[in-house]
């Protein structure tokens, strides 16, 4: 009996060593992407991911898996409706399908799209209005030892109607490996250089350069909880030496009529210091302005001020207010 226990210990050690060796020596190459510098609003654009597989299977045998590819784009592009992905490789070409929301990534217990966002984040973008969308090849492919190949994945989608400057995210993975946090061999991701959408609607939405004042979520209604952030590190302002920053805000309806204004410097209007010369305040506008049921805010106009309310900073460090329009599309 003792002898058997001894042997089983050796077997477990050997299995662990084999697994470690297998994981350490097999995987995907680094990913590179080809992204145009700009595109016109609503234009259909192709983004290209180049990657490769390097199967080093200890002891021979096959490694069979499906190809995963993901892209991170602004939610406003509605890319889930028009994104397509396909790949070319020496093992054959194929199309890919979006992984259904109902299918959970086993490690995180989230949908694959949510799991990718949790794992890879939003890269160099400063405003989180992004979504990851993960596709999977319709076929599985088998690899034998040292069968190195390079492959290319093309993602095509419409870029949306708004002017914006952002960084896009890209992911390549292997379906049987899931999104294990400790794995560095089977999930490769990268973020693009700046990509601009031009000739579209509205002012430029700049996701990657620091802004004096931002609102998250980028798209919301007055019943959402919104976060207003003041980044005093962007430029010198009259509030540089102030220990406390306060919000002075007006709520307007769709016709531009003033519904309510809050300009007192109280605990409710004080921003929290979150370090790095950044301050933020979370508000639920309907509760913050104590709105009646039938009243709806269309737009906010706001300033950041000191404790006396005499010094204030507006859009672009001017006397003009920051503006935020409530909308979903």
């Amino acid at each position: 009996m003792k002898k058997n226990t001894h042997y089983s210990t050796y077997i477990y050690w050997a299995m662990g060593f084999f697994l470690a060796l297998f994981l350490a020596q097999c995987g995907l190459k680094a990913i590179s992407v080809v992204v145009p510098k700009s595109a016109k609003a609503n234009e259909r654009v192709t983004f290209t991911m180049k990657c490769g597989a390097e199967p080093r299977i200890q002891g021979g045998g096959n490694y069979s898996t499906q190809l995963l590819a993901g892209i991170m784009v602004p939610k406003g592009w509605n890319a889930r409706k028009n994104l397509t992905m396909s790949f070319t490789s020496p093992k054959g070409n194929g199309t890919m399908r979006i992984i259904p929301d109902s299918e959970l990534e086993p490690v995180s217990g989230l949908s694959w799209h949510q799991a990718a966002k949790k794992m890879f984040g939003i890269g160099p973008n400063l405003v989180d209005d992004m979504e990851w969308i993960v596709f999977r090849s319709t076929q599985a492919y088998s690899f034998v030892n040292n069968e190195d190949i390079d492959f290319t994945v093309k993602a095509e989608c419409n870029v949306g109607a708004e002017n914006m400057l952002l960084s896009l995210g890209f992911y390549i993975g292997s379906s049987i490996e899931n999104l294990r946090p400790e794995d560095t061999d089977y999930k490769k991701f990268t973020f693009s250089n700046a990509f601009e959408v031009t000739d579209g609607e509205g002012d430029l939405i700049d996701f990657i350069n620091p802004q004096l004042g931002t609102v998250q979520p980028v798209k919301s209604l007055d019943n959402d909880i919104i976060t207003l952030t003041f980044d005093a590190g962007v430029t010198n302002t009259v509030l540089d030496q102030e220990a406390a920053i306060y919000l002075h805000v007006k709520a307007m309806d769709a016709s531009g009529k003033l519904i309510a204004e809050i300009k007192k410097q109280t605990a409710d209007t004080k921003l929290s210091d979150i370090g790095g010369k950044k301050y933020r305040i979370d508000i639920w506008p309907r509760g913050f302005f104590k709105l009646d049921k039938d009243v709806h805010i269309a737009r906010l106009e706001y300033f950041y001020s000191d404790v006396t309310g005499t010094k204030s900073v507006g859009y672009g460090n001017t006397d003009a207010p920051f503006k935020y329009t409530f909308r979903c599309d």
Binding site: K117, P217, L221, N223, D224, S272
Partner: protein, 150 residues
């Protein structure tokens, strides 16, 4: 040695009989899933927006929901929620619910909230998922029962 062999047969038979009788007993234990009871006053203890935890940034003290035994609900005035005021509620399936259906008293259309009812640290937790404004923004409210029960 012979004695062991002779004794081992009756022992094996006894063991088989014992296992078999256990099976019968286990088979008699009712396994029907109980109906889920969400009645009570629930306090929001964790709130996330698009996966970002806002719990420590908001004052949650007044974020309360009452699910009353008579099938009505009341949302606290200060709670950001998909509906306001009061109305009637029901679970889509009393035994295996996936959602809570709210019928506002104002006569608006029914609201279906994704629902989970896990036991966390020995206490029932009510977890509701909804969009307060834009559908692109998802909020998850994790609540604990205030009036004692699990």
């Amino acid at each position: 040695m012979k004695i062991y062999k002779i004794l081992s047969w009756p022992l094996m038979l006894a063991l088989c009989w014992a296992i078999n009788s256990c099976k019968d007993e286990l088979g008699n234990i009712p396994t029907e899933e109980s109906e889920k009871d969400i009645t009570g006053k629930w306090q929001v203890t964790q709130l996330t927006r698009n996966g970002e935890d806002l719990s420590k940034r908001l004052t949650l003290d007044n974020f309360k929901i009452d699910f009353n035994a008579d099938g009505t609900y009341t949302i606290a005035d200060n709670l950001p929620f998909v509906v306001s005021g009061s109305g009637k509620y029901r679970l889509d399936d009393p035994q295996y619910p996936f959602s809570v259906v709210l019928s506002p008293a104002e006569g608006k259309a029914d609201i279906v909230l994704k629902f989970q009812f896990p036991v966390v640290k020995g206490k029932r937790q009510l977890s509701l998922v909804m969009s307060l404004g834009c559908s692109s923004n998802t909020y998850q409210y994790n609540c604990e029962r205030l009036n004692g029960g699990i």
